[in-house]
Symmetry: C2
Subunit: 144 residues, 2 copies
């Protein structure tokens, strides 16, 4: 089990991934990752963040999915299913109630009952496009 404790500054994260600091920041701007931020604005990355970034790199370099494509796929995750949100929670959730989002749920500001995105199953378990596909298939297979 990978640790989700934010420990690596961006320079170390970039070195672990064999990419530049700029690229790591770009993935954040594009909404693919949500690193921990200190009050001063400095970023910190966990082991889990590194694994997530590796996954994104594979999608780009091996699967040839563009960043915009990855973002679109992330937006397809039915988070209320993953999190088994209650009727009440759904009623209050901006993600659930706006089909037309073009943003992954973790990029949408919290005005509802959702907790911290960095700790959420949706953010942590569905970095891989293949896993997202499998999840959608599983969920829909339950139906008649």
């Amino acid at each position: 089990m990978l640790s989700d404790t934010p420990v690596y500054p961006i320079s170390v994260a970039a070195r672990l991934l064999n990419i530049s600091v700029h690229t790591v920041r770009m993935y954040e701007r594009e909404g693919l990752i949500v690193p921990f931020k200190k009050k001063t604005g400095h970023r910190l990355y966990s082991e889990l963040d590194i694994e997530r970034l590796n996954c994104i790199r594979r999608a780009i370099n091996q699967s040839k999915i563009s960043i915009a494509g990855i973002k679109t796929i992330y937006t397809m995750i039915p988070c209320w299913q993953i999190n088994k949100c209650s009727e009440q929670a759904r009623k209050n959730c901006i993600v659930y109630n706006s089909n037309v989002q073009n943003q992954p749920c973790w990029t949408i500001k919290n005005k509802d009952e959702r907790g911290e995105c960095r700790k959420c199953k949706v953010y942590n378990n569905f970095a891989d496009c293949q896993i997202i596909k499998a999840a959608i298939i599983n969920i829909t297979k339950g139906n008649s």
Copy 2:
């Protein structure tokens, strides 16, 4: 309602789309489209095919989703839901029974009870990535 009758040869289709004949063939090689083919191998495109191709072009040029990304998204369509396949049909369907496909269902050869892909709702109604997203959301919202 757009006609699904195959009428345009590839040169006309390409002209309607402002792209080259080669590009149209490429989209087919990549599994994004399934044009009608005469016994001689010559392709024919319908109005619906043209609209589908326009949709693919928008995904590439405006949404900046790569061809590999579009293909991955197409692979996420839960076709058995769209087509309301029976238990029996699912049991016999290679698409339903192999989660690990990396191909849209219409590129997988028919050895089961599925009909002609060009006539299928899944192929015809879900060219647009946004619509696929909406469909997945709808289907999963039905669940508890």
